[in-house]
Every structure is written in C-alpha cells, then in structure tokens.
Symmetry: C2
Subunit: 337 residues, 2 copies
DNA sequence: TTGTACGCGTTATCAG
DNA sequence: CTGATAACGCGTACAA
C-alpha cells in the first residue's frame, strides 16, 4: 500500500565525491564554480552529479552561509488584480533564476504587523524581499526598518529612493484625463483610491496635473476604497449632483460599480456621463458599456523587480529600467460631448 | 550611512543554555516540549529565551530533521479569482500555525513540469503540499508521484481519495440549472470549462443531472477556456442559432463575455436569453445586467485545506469537513420565460 | 589544483 | 530528569 512512499536516501555531496573519486570539497568547488579547478576533474564531478541526480541540500547551505536562495514577498494587498499578476510573475522569474519564493500577507498595515512580517521573513533567512506595499505607511516602515537584506518595493512612487519600481501611474492618469478633455469634457470628477495608497496619490496627481494644464477647474476628489461596491454607492450619490460630464475612477472595479450606480439612477453612460477606469482588468473589455481604461503590464513589472533584486543580492550592477509605459485603451464608456 | 544595516549576532541555543545554566540539550528539550523536564528548569530556560529574544534557527533544524515548517503550494492556475483567494487564505492560516508558505506556479501541466515543481518543493523540504490542481492530469500525476510528504488537493472532485477537498461544484451547478428550469426555461445551453478541468466536469455533470431530473433534453456543451474573451466569441456564434432561451456558463468571466457577445448581436439579456454564471466574482453584482451566479467560499476552502494538511503532518486525527455549501445568488441576468 | 579539519545550530542517542 | 557526544550536509580556512 505504501510501497512508494518511503523516501530513498538523498545523495549528499560526499556520495558525489566518492563516485567522482575526489574529495567532497572539490565537489563543493565545482558547485560554486570556483575558478581553480581542472576542467577534466570538473567534468568528472559533473558526471557524477548527473548520474546520482544530486541536488545540494538547501538547509545545510543556509545553515553555513546564513543565507538562502529564497526571496520573500511582502504583500499588503487583499487580492487585487494588479499585485496578484505581479506576484505570479515574480514567482516565475525567481524560479527561473533558481530562487524560491515565500509569501507573507499583511493582514493589517500597522507598524507592528509589518515588523512581524519582516521578522518572519528574516527568520526564513530570505536573501531579499519584494514588497508590494502600496500604502504609504508600509513603505515608510519598510524603509525605516533596515532589514539587513536588499529589498525592492513595487507599486510605489518611482524615484523615492532607488529601490522602488512601478509603472508610471502619473502619466497613465494624465493620459486618461487628457483623453476626456480631448473629447470635449470640462467638468471632470475624480473618484480616487484610499488616502494611504501611493498609487491613489499618483493617479490623483495625474488627474490634477492634466486638469491644470488644460486650465480646467478641478473638483475635490472623492475618496473610495477600490471596491466595485463603493463605486456603486458613489454612483448613487453623484447622481444627485449633476455638475459634471465625466468621471475618472482610479481603478476599473470602482469604475464598473460606478457605472452600475449611474445606471440604477437613470444616468446613461456614455450619453449622459463618460466614465474611465484604470488597470484594464480582464472584464473591462466586456462590461456594458465597455470600459475605457489604462493598461498596465503587471507581469513585466514583476519580472523587473526580480531582476533588480537579484542584482542587488549578487552585488552586481543594478539594472535601471525606464518607467513602464501605460497604454490607453479607448472603449465605449467615454464619448465626446 | 549604514549604521543600522549591520546585523547583530543572533543568539543560538547555546547562549540560552549558558544564561539558564543548563546544557544546550536541555534547552532543546524545552523547545520541543519534551515530557521529562523539571518545571523549574523549564521556566528558567524560558526566561533566558525571552531575555535573549531567542528564535530557533530554521535551517539548522531543517538540516537535522530534514523537515521544515514550510508548506508548499503547487498552483496550476493562471490567476483566476477562486484559487487566488484560496491561496491568500492558505497563507494566512498557515502563518497562524507557525508555518510559512512557498508557492510554485506551474507554467504548463505536462507531467515533466509537474514533476519538476514537486521536486523543487521536495528540495525545499516542505513538510506538506497544498495542490491547487484543477486539471485532471495534474491530479493524476500528483497522486502517482508518491511525494513522500502529505498533500491536500484543492478544487478537485471530492471523495476521490480522501486527500482532496472542494466546494460542492456539482450541487452548485444543479442549483443554478434548477433555478433556470424553475423560471420556465426548457432549452438550456451549457458553456463548459476546458475538458481537462475537474471543476468543469463537475459543473457540467450538475447541469446534465438537473436537466435529466427535469426530463429536459440537453444540448452538447460548448467547451470554453474560462476567459471572458471566449465567452464573447461564443456569444457571437450562438447568436446565429436561437434554439435556446438560457445559458449556464461554467464561470462568471465567460458569462460576462457571453452577455457582451449577445449584446453586440442584438440579443437582450435577460429578455431574449437568460444567462447565469458560477463563482460570484466581485464584479458579478455590478455588470449589466447583474449576474445570477453561484457563490463559493474560497477563503474557507483554503482554511480547511490547511487544517487537513497540518493534521496529517502532525499525525493527528484528520478533520472531516462536509462539502462547502454553494449559494445561489439570484440577480437580473436570469428571468422567467 | 586538491584535500583535511573544523564549525554552522539543532536534534537524536545513549549514559548517568 | 539531565548532560555528553555524535550526527545532519555544506562552506571556509588552511595545508599540501
């Protein structure tokens, strides 16, 4: 019944050494490609390795070096589309480089919780951390904590201290706002994200900048919480005041909820009001009306984060990426005045 | 500049021993609550531990026990709503129990890729695996591989071999199909998921069962790929044949795409055709028309998976959970004939 | 270029 | 109940 569940003994470095007729030390050198090793010895060792299907024991290695080939992901997002996509691509990219990924979710963004999460990753002896820390608070705690290992912060304002990377939220927000302006709208509302979120700030600033550049007066942004439910609620509220002809919602989920709220209030999108979103989630192209939004390449973002982090870990030249270009996807939910 | 980046030496078990005036071995016993230890010795050790803020070194522990407090997640899903939600809750539940979580994505579901992923987790010496392996193939490979550590397979047909757990897809599918029947529909189509997916099969069988029970003739299901884009495509195709009055799409994304396709083809939902989905993704309540669907508690599913897995790991009594009740959410996209 | 000795921090085994 | 002592698998320092 359990004939196949017994684990065969895993070959160790000494088994390889014995088979190759060298000392375990020589094998170790081959493993870490030490410069001084005779090619012919090396190939003998490599043969032995592949014959035995030998894999270095990571625990032993971690014990002696007090460092692992793990990277940690610190995620303060509940399961939003963007971060989720990035996490998957981080995992893929890391694995391709021989690193595994340990994820820690942040249940709440108190300094204590953040500290605890970082301590946990430290105990795991991760050799680097990718933080998906969209909230200002988290980012600050992170920066202040002096973790002891390199880290990259994703989805935060770019340029803050050289270890962050993100798509260019500000440009994206300008783009989509300018799109509305070009359509002839002058009274444009912004349904923003939560106060504490860095991206929410960037998108709001993009909106404000675009409006100012066009000499349009701005309305005080409405603070949302990223959810479609809030968008719906806001739609109902906004239906009472009709002093606008377009709304830029800080993400697609809110935009979709908003359109629903408008619909229930008898406001037709885009005839009465144009709506645009941000993120280009998979349903954006299929809701009714289809949603004009800003596309971001979250996958590429994750890949870059890993590239940056691994360079730091290995002490190599850290690659410098330009901001990721956001792309405007024009669809039915916005139309000219 | 780097005054805080130097890492203080971490206290080891011997430091604790010295401070407590015992041997490091005794400390180890306290740590693993060995039965035979004098209470007064124990408390002295515990004091020392808290004074030094000592934490056991996981690498050292893993080295000697060849086992870790990590659990692995094997994910063969691209980023769908359900699995993603489950993964997050698995992570939370595991962390609450002192376990960390390492995730491996499966880029493709070939036996080789699956084997490679499992080998990687084995190298990490995870003490258990939660597989989100919705594809039949993956599940079979998994079962055949004799991993050597306990594993739980999520989102698969329940009851197959005692190590799987899932919401009751079949019941959910019956529920929603019966809902359509109760509304007076008799010509009901099913837009199914990919052939290889276990959940797709369950949902399809639920549909077939409900139809049979009502003595209605079924149509051959259409095979989709879970995406909204496919749903849209299918909508366009189906618009040509009008031999049905309702469609049960195997997930919300396809349902939403389908409604879009119908819309573009001039078919009104729900006046001309009723559409229902499955999953209750966050936008389901806000698309137009709002989508009747089946709600599943993915979070609870994740929690249960961890409970089962940890019980197996610890050799405790494995809890037996009843199937998770799916809940019908009736909304505007379905209406009576 | 290669080998030997030692230590990393912990648990297991066997005395006492 | 407690303490030596020996592993665990690997990397580093030093010797050859």
């Amino acid at each position: 019944m359990a004939e196949s569940s017994e684990r065969a003994r895993v070959p160790s470095i000494r088994d390889v050494a014995r088979l190759a007729g060298v000392s375990h030390q020589t094998v170790s050198r081959v493993l870490n490609d030490h410069p001084s090793i005779r090619p012919e010895t090396k190939s003998r060792v490599l043969d032995a390795i592949s014959v035995l299907d030998y894999r270095p024991n990571r625990a032993a290695r971690a014990l002696v070096t007090s460092r692992t080939t793990n990277i940690g992901i610190l995620s303060a997002t509940v399961g939003e589309f963007g971060p989720t996509a990035s996490i998957a691509s981080i995992e893929d990219a890391a694995r391709a480089e021989g690193y595994s990924v340990t994820t820690v979710n942040l249940p709440e963004t108190t300094p204590e919780a953040i500290g605890e999460a970082i301590r946990q990753l430290a105990r795991e002896q991760v050799s680097g951390i990718v933080a998906l820390a969209p909230q200002v608070r988290v980012f600050n705690v992170l920066r202040g904590m002096a973790i002891g290992v390199p880290y990259v912060s994703l989805q935060t304002a770019s340029g803050s201290d050289g270890v962050t990377h993100s798509a260019d939220q500000l440009t994206g927000a300008r783009l989509v706002t300018q799109h509305l302006i070009a359509l002839g709208h002058t009274e444009i509302l912004h349904l923003a994200g939560p106060q504490d979120w860095i991206e929410a700030e960037s998108r709001m600033r993009g909106y404000l900048d675009a409006m100012r550049d066009a000499d349009l007066t701005t309305f005080p942004p409405i603070r949302g919480d990223w959810t479609a439910d809030f968008g719906y609620f806001a739609g109902g509220e906004l239906a009472r005041r009709r002093d606008f002809t377009a709304v830029f919602a800080a993400n697609d989920l809110m935009a979709i909820g908003l359109m629903h709220g408008f619909r229930d209030a008898g406001i037709d999108v885009p005839r009465d009001v144009s709506v645009v979103g941000f993120d280009d989630i998979p349903v954006a192209a299929h809701v009714c009306p289809t949603l004009t939004t800003v596309h971001q390449d979250f996958t590429e973002l994750g890949r870059r984060a890993v590239a940056i982090l691994l360079a730091e870990i290995r002490g190599e030249q850290v690659p410098v990426f330009g901001a990721l270009d956001p792309i405007l996807r024009t669809r039915e939910s916005s139309s000219s005045r």
